[in-house]
Amino acid sequence: MGAKQTRSAQKYQDLTDKTGFSPEQIKNLHKRFQHLSDNEETISRENLEKIPALANNPIRKQIIDAFFDKRNQHQNEVGAFQEIGFEQFLMVMSHFRPPTLKTTEEEREAMRKEKLRFLFNMHDTDNDGTITLEEYRKVVEELLSKSGAIGLEAAKAIADAAMLEVASTNVPHMAPDDFYEGITFEHFEQILKGLEMESRMHIRFLDVDTMTMRCGKSKS
């Protein structure tokens, strides 16, 4: 038992260094992971699709895909996993950590870039480094997918207008023949500069184990 303790503590230490979570948070997330995977080593797409609360989410598919996207693992690979282990799960989650009081200005910048990169990867499904008009249209359509017919009609117009805005902000003087290929990462950063991603894109990771507190609802 002693050896197992130190082994898991060691593993957690590695993960803490890599992802920045505290050991308590990692423990809680591990419990959740095991719950989702039915106590196996890896989870697949089906496991995530089974989460009932996600059913109402219009961008469910994109979220699930993001977990299996190799680009979010910071290892310069591309493609998609079929199944992911706990470490990869944790890596994806680490994109949603908030900044602390001790975060320096540069660290904030790096954090913002990382979060924006995550969003960019979610939109850029074919991984060519740009978000084309088609891809952007798809994004808006998915966002409005729960709104029926009105949503689908307007989605195209909205996506077009948004693309136009990105183009006019970033490349204000295009000759009429030039073709704006798509939103590059720099342009994406530029257009979302005002949102202060490092302060907005985060969720609260608990230090306290809540699994036992909701024993009646463990199915969620």
Partner: protein, 753 residues
């Protein structure tokens, strides 16, 4: 404004205004003094058939022995006295406000509230000098029933919901715990100070001190608004201080009534204290409930106003005012009721009322709150001169000092607790601004004024006024340089970007999804649940027609489009283009299919020149109206899908119809839905045309088979018939060419028929 006579034009309005005001005031006072004379002549006029000996006393009529001549001109001031005085006061306030903006130098350094208090002091001084006694004072009833509600309604209706709800916990902690701390600290310490011998304050007991503490502790929303509005600080700090000033009303109301009751009895028991706590919850939650009910009523009523648009704004105002008054009936927190009513009502009402009504609501609220604020500060100045003062050095100095100390201690202490629970922590700079922004204002004064008359009351009032002056003058004037010195983040100019909106929504869903994967029900989860509940049930009841199912992104987009279109139409008379216009248009974005492009022959240069000249000549006449959505420089590829075009056209026409409902520009420019079908090309639509673009568009023609059309105004339709004929030849040529080389598709053929 290159004025040849700058000095005169800058000063003469100001001097005239000042002169006018002094004149008005003196006139007013003299008028009241000559009341007796007036009423005397009044009587004579009402009863003309009087005995003859009265006639010699009538110094207005040309009286004969028995008959009084019909008075051609009579002086009857009593009749209109009250409205006359009210109007003159308001006029004075507004003229002062006007005057300050003519002299920009001062208003940049000194906040407006300070200037207005100074004016009030001057006016009060003048009145006192002229009249001696009987100067008007800020009557509490006037303040609480007439002057305060517009300001609070304005604040509540336009409260930025997202930052408010995100920081609600912090705001509540500051409002409730912070105010409680202030009350007991100031009250307790003042009591200790009063025990010092030689200060002459021995008769002030603990309960009175606590009462005084409860009056002076609350941060005042009017003062905070007045000062913070001018420094444009970032959203977070603004909502923290402002939210606190709004929500501490409940605490203030409870404590004030509690201590006022008990200061008569002289002692407080434990059960009374417990009742006080219960009372707090009743007051705050009850106030919110009352506001909620009236808000729902207001939203529901607005669902049916589609046929009587003119009275729509009145519903908003009256329901809100009724919420305030109803809460005040039960001694609940009127401010919280008003805020709740405005917040609840707003999203549904805005979806229901017309655009003109929305503008009316906005401007009336701003107008009333502006007038109220001005009047409040002027009256504060006047009351300072008027009220009987009881100056006690120890008391006043210690009050000011303790207010500052307790505020600073409170903020620091509470922040250290709050930061454990916040994700975005409050830095030291933030804490400083929050502490420094704790301004006191007219609410404290009015509450003090309501106390029963006694020597203690006068002493309290003097201290309150001193604190108010200190916070408004010293803190108000220095906060702007301090903000700049500390480099506090300012408010970022939001341009209403569609990308930001898309991503805000996207983020909401993403974070909710991640929370669901993580398995705990956090902030986003509940917000999402509330939104879905709202969409499914509430909106159906409260929003009329098909707007009830419109998702937020689409309504945002529509609003943005409308705003842009209006802006362009209004600026249509000048040829100035909005600066953000770039030369990017849809053709740069729409993916073009290379094969087709290659199939187009390039037209000879001379032909291009001709076409360009022709178009430009025609366009000269139509320069005015050729502005429309520059964003939608849509050049429809004629080979594109028919179906989506029809939908797009429908949307455009709908948009145009909506626009024409509310535009206030004159009719000849108004009626243009930006897109109109032109006779010979029913399926294609063009959108923008700018002089800058016309030569380019001529160049474009040969390269793609898309056809451009001119925008039309209805009355120009005859002219347009002439134009297409001229252009038709050119385009026919091009199209013949293009048709010869590629498959034109069904749309082209329709043109020929």
């Amino acid at each position: 404004m290159a004025d040849p006579r700058p000095a005169r034009s800058r000063f003469s309005p100001r001097l005239t205004a000042a002169f006018l005001c002094v004149f008005l005031l003196v006139f007013l006072r003299c008028a009241s003094a000559s009341r007796d004379v007036v009423s005397g002549s009044n009587e004579t006029w009402i009863r003309p058939a009087r005995s003859t000996q009265e006639d010699p006393h009538d110094h207005h009529g040309n009286s004969t022995e028995h008959k009084k001549a019909f008075p051609v001109l009579a002086f009857n001031f009593e009749h209109v006295r009250k409205p006359f005085e009210i109007s003159m006061w308001i006029l004075l306030a507004l003229l002062m406000k006007l005057g300050f903006h003519i002299i920009p130098r001062i208003s940049h350094v000194v906040p407006e509230s300070c200037l207005l208090i100074v004016v009030g002091l001057l006016v009060g001084g003048t009145i006192k000098a002229v009249e001696g006694t009987n100067a008007p004072v800020l009557d509490s009833k006037l303040f609480f029933l007439y002057l305060l509600p517009p300001i609070i309604l304005d604040a509540g209706y336009f409260l930025p919901i997202r930052p408010f709800t995100e920081n609600l916990g912090t705001i509540l902690v500051f409002a409730v715990l912070g105010t409680l701390w202030n009350v007991f600290f100031i009250g307790g310490t003042m009591f200790a100070v009063c025990q010092i011998d030689g200060a002459g304050l021995a008769d002030v007991d603990l309960l009175s001190c606590l009462l005084f503490g409860s009056i002076i502790s609350a941060v005042d929303p009017v003062a905070v608004l007045a000062v913070f509005e001018e420094i444009h600080i970032n959203d977070l700090l603004h909502i923290l201080v402002f939210g606190e000033s709004l929500l501490n009303d409940a605490v203030t109301v409870v404590l004030y009534h509690l201590f006022k009751e008990f200061s008569h009895e002289g002692s407080v028991s434990v059960s009374d204290a417990l009742l006080g706590v219960v009372c707090f919850f009743v007051v705050s939650l009850g106030g919110i409930l009352v506001g909620f009910i009236y808000g729902i009523l207001g939203a529901f009523t607005s669902r049916f106003t589609s046929h009587t648009r003119v009275i729509e704004p009145l519903f908003v105002f009256l329901y809100s005012y009724m919420a305030y008054l109803s809460a005040e009936v039960f001694h609940l927190s009127g401010i919280m009721s008003l805020i709740a009513c405005g917040v609840i009502m707003r999203p549904y009402v805005e979806a229901n009322i017309s655009h003109k009504s929305y503008t009316t609501v906005k401007y009336f609220l701003k107008m009333w709150s502006s007038v109220s604020e001005t009047l409040i500060f002027i009256f504060l100045g006047v009351s300072t001169v008027a009220g009987p003062h009881e100056w006690n050095w120890t008391f006043v100095v210690f009050t000011v000092f303790l207010c500052l100390v307790s505020r600073v201690l409170g903020v620091i202490g509470l922040t250290s607790i709050i930061n454990k629970f916040r994700i975005v922590k409050l830095t030291k700079k933030d804490q400083f601004i929050v502490a420094y922004g704790g301004l006191r204002g007219a609410i404290a004064f009015s509450l003090g004024f309501l106390l029963t008359d006694s020597k203690m009351k006068h002493m309290f009032l003097t201290a309150i006024i001193t604190v108010i002056f200190f916070t408004v003058f010293v803190q108000g004037m220095t906060i702007r340089p301090l903000v700049e010195l500390l480099a506090v983040k300012r408010k970022k100019e939001s341009k209403g970007s569609i990308n930001e909106e898309i991503h805000t929504q996207f983020l909401d869903h993403l974070l909710t999804g991640i929370e669901d994967v993580c398995g705990h029900y956090g902030h986003h989860h509940w917000k999402d649940k509330l939104n879905r509940f709202n969409k499914k049930y509430v909106k159906k009841w409260l929003i009329a027609g098909e707007r009830s199912t419109e998702p937020q992104l689409i309504s945002f987009y529509n609003k943005l489009e409308l705003k842009q279109a209006m802006m362009l139409v209004e600026s249509g008379s000048t040829s100035k283009l909005p600066s953000v216009m770039s030369s990017v248009s849809m053709q740069n974005i729409q993916p073009r299919e290379p094969p087709r492009r290659r199939a187009m022959p390039s037209i000879s240069k001379s032909r291009e020149e001709e076409i360009r000249k022709l178009l430009r000549a025609n366009l000269q006449n139509t320069r005015q109206r050729l502005r429309s959505y520059s964003r939608h420089d849509l050049m429809i590829d004629p080979f594109e899908d028919n179906v989506s075009e029809v939908h797009l056209r429908k949307q455009r026409v709908e948009m145009g119809r909506r626009m024409s409902h509310y535009l206030t520009v004159p009719a000849n420019r108004q009626e243009a839905p930006p897109v109109r079908k032109v006779g010979f090309q029913p399926e294609h639509q063009v959108f923008t045309y700018d002089d800058a673009e016309s030569p380019r568009s001529a160049e474009m023609k040969p390269r793609s088979a898309a056809v451009r059309l001119l925008n039309e105004l209805p009355q120009r339709s005859d002219q347009s018939d002439a134009e297409p004929n001229a252009k038709q030849d050119d385009q026919e040529d091009q199209l013949k060419l293009s048709r010869g080389l590629s498959d034109p598709g069904p749309n082209q053929e329709q043109k020929e028929s």
